[in-house]
Each structure stands twice: as C-alpha cells, then as structure tokens.
C-alpha cells in the first residue's frame, strides 16, 4: 500500500500509522469589533446536527457506484490517486492535522507555498510584499516564523541564523508536491527543534508517481511569466527518476509611494532518484539548486553619516541541497531509516550577508511489539555560517559560527483497547550549543468509538532554542540627532544568556464523519508560554565612542521577558452535497494574552506582538467539476484586523477556471485577491526599526497552459 520508497517521508506512509511520520517529522487579541460572518454560523449549525445517517465512506473517496456508470472514455480520463489522503488518514491522529493535497494546490491557483497554506485552519499567512510572507501557526506570525518547524521532504528549511524560515527560497514545481501536512501545536515527540507552535511538512511525489513529461507556462499582471518543466521515467529494475527546472519573474505589488522595489526573479532546478531493491531496501537521492534576485527595501544603519538610509535593492539569494535516504524493512514489524543531507544557502542582502552550510544525519527505527508501536531516533546537525558585514549597524559577533544540534526522541503508542483507545507517550531530547539538554515530553490520548468519530487530547512541553539572532547579533537603529548634532542610536546587543522559550500546551480535538457527505474537524488549544522573546532596555542612554564618531546609545537586548497564554479553536468542515461539488471551510479563532514578566525591562512589545496575529480567520473553498472537462474553484477568505501592523481587516477572493483539452493539455485562468484593487496584509515584525510603509497586495490574474504526456 503506497510506495515504500520515501513514502515514509511524511505523516502518512500509506499504512495509516500513527501521526508521527517515520521520517521527516523532525524533531514547527485585542477585541476587534467584528461580527461573526453568517456562513460560520451555517457551518457550525450543520456540525452540531445529530449524526444519524447511514455509514458510508469518506467523502473524499470516489464512489464505486459512480465509477461503474462511467463510459470507457471517462474511465480513461480519471486521475489515479493513492488511497490514503485527506480526512480518512488524519482520522486516527491525536493531533490537529490538516492535509493540503497536490490537487488542492492546483485548484487554488496558488503559485507559492505560503499562498497554498492559506486554506488551513490555524495558520496565519500574510503577504508582506512580492517576495516576503509572514507565516505563523496559532499566533506569533512574523516574517521569519520562529516557532514553526518547516520541512521539505525531511530536510529542515528553518535557519538558525535568525530563527525562522525564509519562504522566498522554499520552492519547487508545485505540481510535484504530493501533499503538505500541517500539524498545529507542538509536534509532540518528533525530533528537531522549534516545532513549538506547529510543523509544516512539504512532501513531494515519489519519482514513480511522476513519470512522463510535464510542461507548464503562463503569465499575467503580477505573475508576469513562468515556466515549469519536469520529466520522469523508470526502468524495470526498480529505478525511478525525475528532473525538473522552473523559472519565473514576478512584478512588484502596490506601493502608494511609487517605490516599486519588490520585483522578483528566480530560476531553480533539481532531480530525484528512487531505487528499490527487492522488498527490503529503498534508496532515494534528491537535490535542488536555485538562484534568485529578490527586490527589497531595508534600512541600512551606520555610525557614520548618513546614519540611516532606506535602501531599495536586490537581495541575491542562491543555494542548493542534496539529500539521501535509505529505508530498510527488516520485517513487517521493524524498519529503519537513515537520512543525510547537505544544504547550502547564500544570502546577500543590501544590509548584510550570510553564507551557511548545513550537514545533517538522522536515524529512526520503528518497531511493533505486542500492543506497543515504538519509534525512536537520533539526529545530529551542524550549521556553519559566515556573516558578511555590509553596514556597521548590523553585525554578528563572532562573524563565523557553527551551530550544533543533537536530538534524540522516543515515542510509544500503546493500544489500551485495540482500535479504540490508544495512549502515546514520549519525549524529545535536545542539545544545542546554546542550551543544555532540554527534554520535551508529551502525552496524547486517542479514542475512536467507531469509524465515524474520533476524539483526542494532548499535553506537550516544547522549547524554542535560541538562535544567532539572540546570542550573537548586534542590530542598531538610528533614533535621531541630538540638538548639538550628535547622533543618537539604539542598539540590540547580543544576549549570550538568552534562554530557550518554553511552552506548555493543552489540546483537545475531534473528528466526525457526520454523514457520507459531511465531515468536520474541530480542535481547541490552551498554550501557556514562559521566557518569551522580549526587547529589553538595559540601561540609560550614554555617550559611546566606538564605533567612531561618538554618539549617544540607548542599550537594549533581546531578553526572555514576556509570558502569557494563547487560546483558540479551529473548525474545518467539509461537505460534498453532490458528486461534482465540494465545499471546504476553515474558521480559526485566536485570543492572545501576553504581558511583561515581573522585573522585565521589556520596552512594551507585547501589544505589538498580540496585534500582529488575527483574532478571526475564515476561508470557504468551493470546487466544481463541470461537464466538458471544465473545473471551477472559488475561494473566499476573511482575515480580521492586525492593529499591531496598522492593517485593517480584509476579505478577498480567488478563483480558477480550467479546461482540460485533448492531447494532454489543460488551460486555466486564475484570478487572485479579486475583491479590491489592492489590500495590505502585513508590515514588518513589531518593534524592529524600519522605514517600510505598507505594501498593498494587488488584484491579479494569470493564465496557465499545462501539457502532460
């Protein structure tokens, strides 16, 4: 069932086992005056209706009865899919999971991974400008998303430089993505640090699934031109491969001041080879290489005049990676995986540079012994970075650093009552060059009274390890000129005593197959945080003589001075009233309550952080399969206001109309952000000095032609 090669690379390895993947699950306020939209009430009412209908299959499965009535020609046009995906596989998971399938991505018309994430409950995606996004799960959304672990095929793309993910360089041919699995909440016992608020796991198709040639190209007003190419094949001896290339150019978003700095160009290519030898061994090798020019606007601060300049220039980003994975099935109750990868990122921004080499090696074993389903693993990661100083206002000391991470985890899923009640306990153990051993225990309970309902509860402790940004980073901001002309700066100094941020998370959830056509997933959480990142003023301003010339300095540092709680609820119903119409909804509610801890010198950043996450989010996706091979999708989205960003609430819509033509062609017309000419979604991380004004995300449209052979 499912391809054993690298299918382990995701949550659901084809065997519906547990919620921890064998692989790659590495160890990721303010009362706005909003009235709850009508449709939310509609969905909630439907959800509360007593389920009393005939047992049926999951709404995502194709009805055998329908297949029977198709003509031969229609049968020859159906797309083959693997059996496990969607709500069926998430059913037995004691965690808040949402799966975005490759088909969902295609039908949404999203051209980037962050845009594809918007339909998931609990995930806040806000586009900052053409090439930057703020992403967060259950709060704390920011440009660098520091408490969410992001993986692509088992490779961590979170950088320890500034603790976060640079979304602009995480890309692939979107048609090759099999699914994106999003776990909200701390990942429980999976290895790898910083899966504090969630994990986003991007899983590409196996090489066997991408035989043939695919070429797609198109353009529009913002998505100005793009081309994707992929070719794959295989031999009888069990070797399958694919190679791909893609390139795009994107235009700037809307700037009220006319400074259209954020154009974006990228080229990327890569390959994957899967080889299985007999029934016992499977190998995968894959790699990517990319080069981009990302237009951006940064503040360059220096101690010599002009003290602070806004620089609109390109960031030169490039890099590559190579990954190898070996999976051995020792018996049907015992298998092991060994994976290693090398990743290189070159980041040359107008105000700093970073060159980083990361080496990683991981091992996982999965054992089944009587009622126990045990997983354990070890991992090591070394990340060597070199900082290139461009301006005196942004420096790292030391300039060359190696970050070490050692992880181990063990987890046991114990079947208290077969197929009905299971308890999963485990812990992750983490050691970095910033911290001592940090245990992260977790306990989860899953109750499945029948095959139409499941309930789960979880308690987890998680830790966000410090990054170079807190330990080694010196960031200066120009405040102004004193009356006598002496410049006045504020500077965040490196805090070598920055401690890990801590989370105690309590979660509950339920999944109900209310009828053959209606499914609903509900999750609630209460997260208690300590030692959260704060911006502390450490003393009174004083006259400092170096770097010359003399200047006044207000000293500050990143500290652990905030604490508080967040709580919320996420509801995701799915309804298929008739075979050719599917409705998916997602509503997320988040209430954040953060404050300074006693004795903290925090400058008052809590309101800004709380005000940068929306209290309400709503998305409704309607998908139609029409006759004559036409498909139509419509997505309505609402996000409530972000007072900490000075961004108003907005609602917008995306739409896609596609025709399947003969000879393997498909033509699609996509419109995004249609309800206004433009709307801003996010400014900049709260508290960081910046001169950036809000960029409006434009109404856009593009056409795409795809050929598959």
């Amino acid at each position: 069932m499912g391809d054993s090669t690298r299918a382990h690379c995701g949550l659901f390895n084809g065997n519906l086992e547990g919620y921890i993947s064998l692989r790659s699950m590495k160890p990721c306020h303010l009362r706005a005056s909003v009235r709850c939209p009508q449709v939310v009430v509609l969905f909630l009412a439907a959800a509360l209706a007593v389920p009393a209908l005939a047992w049926g299959r999951s709404p995502l499965e194709s009805d055998q009865q329908t297949l029977k009535n198709l003509t031969l020609e229609q049968l020859s046009n159906i797309e083959v899919t693997t059996a496990t995906k969607g709500p069926e596989s998430a059913f037995k998971t004691p965690a808040a999971v949402f799966v975005i399938t490759g088909d969902d991505i295609k039908r949404s018309g999203a051209t980037t991974i962050p845009d594809a994430l918007r339909i998931s409950p609990g995930v806040e995606v806000a586009q900052i400008d053409s090439d930057k996004w703020s992403v967060g799960i259950r709060g704390f959304g920011s440009r660098l998303c520091r408490s969410v672990l992001v993986l692509i095929d088992g490779r961590t793309v979170y950088t320890t430089l500034l603790a976060g993910t640079y979304w602009e360089v995480q890309d692939t041919v979107l048609e090759d993505i099999d699914r994106i699995e999003i776990i909200r909440g701390p990942g429980g016992t999976i290895w790898g640090p910083n899966a504090v608020d969630g994990i986003i796991n991007i899983i590409t198709k196996t090489a066997k699934q991408t035989h043939g040639t695919l070429v797609s190209a198109g353009g529009g007003n913002v998505e100005q031109g793009f081309v994707n190419f992929r070719h794959g094949g295989g031999t009888k001896s069990g070797l399958n491969y694919r190679v791909y290339g893609k390139a795009f150019t994107r235009g700037p978003q809307f700037h009220r001041d006319g400074r259209n700095f954020d154009d974006w160009r990228s080229g990327q290519g890569g390959f994957r080879m899967d080889w299985s030898r007999g029934n016992h061994d499977a190998f995968t090798v894959q790699g990517d290489i990319y080069k981009q020019e990302d237009g951006e606007s940064v503040v360059a601060t220096s101690y010599t005049p002009p003290y602070s300049r806004v620089v609109d220039a390109n960031a030169h980003l490039s890099g590559g990676n190579i990954l190898g994975n070996w999976t051995r099935t020792i018996s049907d109750k015992n298998d092991i995986q060994l994976q290693g990868y090398y990743d290189r990122t070159n980041r040359h921004e107008p105000n700093f540079g970073d060159i980083r080499d990361t080496y990683d090696l991981d091992f996982i074993q999965h054992l089944r012994v009587r009622r126990h389903n045990v997983r354990w693993g070890l991992g090591a990661r070394f990340s060597e970075g070199t900082n290139l100083q461009v301006v005196s206002g942004l420096t790292f000391s030391p300039a060359e650093r190696t970050d070490r991470l050692l992880t181990g985890f063990i987890q046991d899923e114990y079947s208290i009552i077969d197929n009905r009640l299971a308890l999963t306990v485990g812990t992750k153990l983490l050691h970095t060059n910033f911290t001592d051993f940090e245990p992260e225990p977790s306990a989860r309970l899953l109750w499945t009274p029948g095959n139409k309902a499941s309930f789960w509860a979880a308690f987890t402790q998680a830790v966000r390890t410090p990054s170079d940004a807190e330990h080694d980073f010196f960031l200066s901001g120009f405040v102004g000129l004193a009356p006598d002309g002496t410049p006045f700066f504020a500077r965040f100094n490196a805090n070598r005593h920055f401690r890990p941020e801590k989370l105690d998370a309590y979660e509950l959830g339920s999944r109900l197959l209310v009828s053959k056509t209606f499914f609903i997933d509900v999750a609630g959480f209460y997260d208690h945080y300590r030692d959260l990142f704060s911006e502390d003023l450490t003393g009174a301003p004083f006259l400092e003589s170096t770097p010359a010339p003399a200047h006044f300095l207000l000293p500050a540092e990143f500290g652990n001075g905030l604490l508080g709680q967040t709580k919320g609820v996420e509801v995701a119903p799915e309804w298929r009233p008739v075979n050719w119409w599917r409705l998916r909804g997602s509503y997320s509610f988040l209430r954040m309550n953060l404050e300074k801890s006693r004795n903290s010198q925090d400058a008052g950043t809590a309101p800004g952080i709380m005000g940068s996450s929306p209290e309400h989010q709503l998305s409704i996706v309607s998908s139609f399969d029409l006759p004559k091979s036409v498909s139509f999708d419509f997505d309505y989205r609402y996000v409530s206001a972000l007072p900490g960003q000075m961004v108003d609430a907005y609602s917008t819509a995306d739409t896609r109309l596609a025709w399947r033509l003969p000879h393997g062609l498909e033509l699609a017309a996509i419109g995004r952000n249609l309800l206004q000419p433009s709307h801003p979604e996010f400014g900049t991380d709260p508290g960081i000095p910046s001169g950036v004004t809000l960029v409006g995300i434009k109404r856009s449209a593009y056409c795409k032609l795809t050929w598959v052979h």
Partner: protein, 197 residues
C-alpha cells in the same frame, strides 16, 4: 525600539452583502448543472481497473454459453480488494448474473467468461495462454507485454491515467467480438497475428 503607536481604525465585519452575493452565486451555478457526472473524479488504480472489467462486459460479445452466471475470474494475487466485488454486485453482464471468483490455477479458468491475470503470475504466462487458446475467455492483465504474447486486453498506466491495449486477433480466434466503442477508446489495437507465446 518602542513599538509604533497603534493607529487602528477599527473597520471590520466582512460585508454581509458580499457574503450573500457569494452564496447566491454558488447556488445559482450549481442549479444550472443538475445531471452531471464529475469528469475529474479521482480513484485508485485498482478501482479504475475494476470498473474497466465491468465495462468490458458491456462492449464484448461472447458466443452463447450455458452457465447461469457470468464469471469474472481473478488468477493470482488479487489487487482489487473489495472494489471488483462491489462493482459487480447485483449487476448483469450478457443477460446473466455477474459473479467474481478467485482461482488458483489456470485449469479452473475454462469456466470463466473473463479472466484477469494478476501481475504475480508473470512466470506462468507462457503456460497459461496456450491452455486457453481455444476457450472463449476474455484475457485481461496488466503484465507488461501481455498483448504481444497473446493476451487480449492489457492495462497500461500513462501519466496519471489507466489506459488499455487491445489484441483483436487473439480475441477473434476464440469467437469474441469487440464493439467499435471499445476499439475507439483503446490506446492501440493489434490486428495482425501476434507472435504467440
């Protein structure tokens, strides 16, 4: 740096009219198309092949046979799970009640009207096919090279879809006729005598 003062203007609820407009739009569109069958369904490979087998029953004619049932047999490791049984349940093919049977050896195949040979039987194909050379059984498989070796219909996966190849000569030799509907949809039709075995 101290955070910027909030200048939040407080606008907010999504426009009620917009929501109703959207809902109406959705319902109107759905109202126009009431008798459609989705052509972009998705199904697993074995579900599609099971549906094909059932369909072949409609587009192939058998010489008259005495048994009361139309037997679809599966030889080897069954890839269909419950898909084939579900599709066939309660249906009639060639005016006879359709039934699925799993057989262990090709000796039992002569009472079948349709035989699906699973990919596990690769090694035995050479001995199976001559045995059935004179019996009016529709031979279907997804083994590579099946039609070249004398099989009648072979499934192939192309891109992400399931198609089939036809060997017309092999079928005509045992008295089976294929409707032109079937031949039109086939990916290719072999009309000359194959190099049997």
């Amino acid at each position: 740096m101290p955070p910027r003062p909030g200048r939040f203007t407080g606008n907010t609820s999504p426009n009620r009219r917009t929501i109703f407009a959207l809902l109406i739009f959705i319902f109107v569109l759905s109202g126009i198309h009431t008798e459609l069958v989705g052509q972009q369904l998705q199904a697993t490979e074995s579900q599609i092949k099971a549906a094909y087998l059932f369909n072949f029953g409609k587009y192939v004619s058998w010489p008259p046979f005495s048994s009361e049932h139309f037997l679809i047999c599966v030889l080897g490791r069954d890839p269909f799970g419950s898909a084939l049984d579900e599709i066939v349940a309660g249906e009639k093919i060639a005016a006879k009640q359709a039934e699925v049977r799993r057989i262990r050896s090709f000796h039992d195949a002569s009472s079948c009207q349709m035989l699906f040979i699973a990919s596990s039987e690769d090694a035995q194909i050479r001995s199976v096919l001559p045995e059935l050379a004179n019996v009016p059984v529709l031979l279907v498989s997804d083994l590579p090279g099946f039609v070249e070796r004398g099989g009648m219909i072979q499934f192939v996966t192309e891109g992400n879809r399931v198609r089939f190849l036809v060997n017309l000569k092999a079928a005509q030799k045992v008295g089976l006729t294929f409707s032109s509907e079937l031949l039109k949809v086939a990916k290719s039709v072999q009309r000359d005598a194959p190099g049997v075995l």
